[in-house]
Assembly symmetry: C2
Homo-oligomer: 278 residues x 2
């Protein structure tokens, strides 16, 4: 029996998230079925964590065992031949038996993509050129944001999340969601509650042929369910002028979901990468 680590990229739009659910197409389910077609074995790949319906991944990591020996690159190519084009195996490698995609994680990075529909604001708002249309080829992969944003405020808001905090104000609140969050981070939830450490949290601006894109990236030791989307929804309220960056420490201290901003939509979110020891 060999222990495998795979890096997987996917377009989550047409899937009910990572985790296997009866009667629904999921990434984990597609991967398990593809393994069955390629190797005759159907281990359930363990992901580094779940992603919700509509959320994408650039570098999700999963692990599983296979009895049959197979060259790593042959496994990768065979899986890609049988998987839908929306799911691609980027890398396959044999790892020590102790490796587990979720338990061994030391850090994760998420990315959130925003497309700016406003080129400018002010007295010339009536000028049709002030508005930019989100290209249909981007719509599945961005939050197309209709209001003007103050980039400096976004940067200040992002910086205020860095450090070790109780992020309860930014965690999903409905019972089902809390359960899911707990299941996602079993050990953490027992010892840490909603305490997480954010190592880095920053925005970048990029001019593309289609318009202005904003990229938020956040690297931390773990994330609560909906946490990144709630950080983003809150920061966008700050960038828009509804809230001020200075209010964020108070939102964190409140330990109440209602103290923070709305949940940004799933289609802008990408699991960027997962880090392991050494």
């Amino acid at each position: 029996m060999q222990n495998w680590k795979v890096i997987v990229s996917y377009d989550g739009t047409d899937y009910s998230g990572w985790q296997v659910q009866p009667g629904r197409a999921t990434i984990q389910g597609e991967l398990q079925a593809a393994l069955g077609r390629v190797t005759g074995e159907s281990p359930l790949p363990q992901g580094s964590g779940r992603t919700d319906a509509g959320v994408h991944a650039l570098g999700q990591v999963a692990s599983f065992g296979l009895a049959a020996p197979i060259p790593a690159d042959n496994l990768r190519r065979a899986l890609n031949r049988t998987l839908p084009a929306a799911i691609r195996v980027v890398e396959t490698m044999v790892v020590p038996a102790a490796f587990h995609a979720r338990h061994s994680t030391v850090a994760k990075t998420y990315e959130y993509r925003v497309f700016l529909e406003r080129r400018r604001t002010g007295p010339d708002e009536a000028d049709p050129s002030y508005a930019v249309v989100c290209p249909p080829f981007l719509a599945r992969y961005v939050y197309s944001y209709p209001w003007p944003l103050d980039f400096g405020e976004l940067e200040r808001a992002a910086a205020s999340f860095v450090g070790t905090h109780d992020f309860l104000s930014f965690a999903a609140t409905d019972p089902d969601e809390t359960t899911r969050s707990a299941a996602d981070n079993e050990e953490d939830m027992t010892t840490l509650g909603a305490v997480r450490t954010v190592y880095r949290s920053w925005w970048e601006q990029k001019q593309t042929d289609e318009g202005t894109m904003l990229f938020y990236r956040v690297r931390g030791n773990g994330f609560l369910h909906h946490m990144v989307r709630n950080l983003v929804g809150t920061m966008l309220d700050v960038g828009r002028g509804y809230r001020r960056a200075e209010e964020i420490p108070g939102m964190i201290a409140a330990k109440a979901r209602a103290a923070a901003g709305p949940t940004a939509p799933p289609q802008g979110l990408f699991l960027h990468s997962v880090e392991y020891p050494e």
Copy 2:
């Protein structure tokens, strides 16, 4: 009654092409329904031509009449608010009554996008780095091509289509398709048969973060049904070494579909732009 011209961009993946069909989601049908919701009038927008299922548009043009007066930018914004994100109205303008999106066309440009899965070939083929995975976020919008291509041969092949030729060898052959092709260019088919003029035909190569992309663009006075996809399928056979660019004049002269190469898949094809007099 005002005559309107609109420029529309769409992701054709989830639609049964441009043209209204009972019980199916089409671009023309979505646009007509959106006009109904916005204005209370439901004219059938006349496109510059049909696009097939899975084919996209950067700048499809459609025309229709509306009795109610409405500022052009208000119409654009209201349509985009009610249309699916896969269909965007890029521009709206009132035009003279004589304008008709199909009959007034003087030239069209199509674009075909190819993603190269091979970084290199040769004795190091066993090295996993020779292969590049097509990102799932591009898969809907490219032909992900698994074999190495000779770019110089592609360029030579593209040049050999320029000029006025009978393109019957590159037209769809099944009865249904021929009917559709005729309907698409009624006047042309009567007077010209399969004769079309290609003004420009060329390939470009672009390095992106994800890998190497090839863009084929062709500008002409009109195109037969499946013509661009058949030109591309033939050129890719040349680039791959199955055929030679020098054989293309013979394929054209044969006036037989079987003389040319295969039909490239729809997802790489974009109606780029449509030109009108003055």
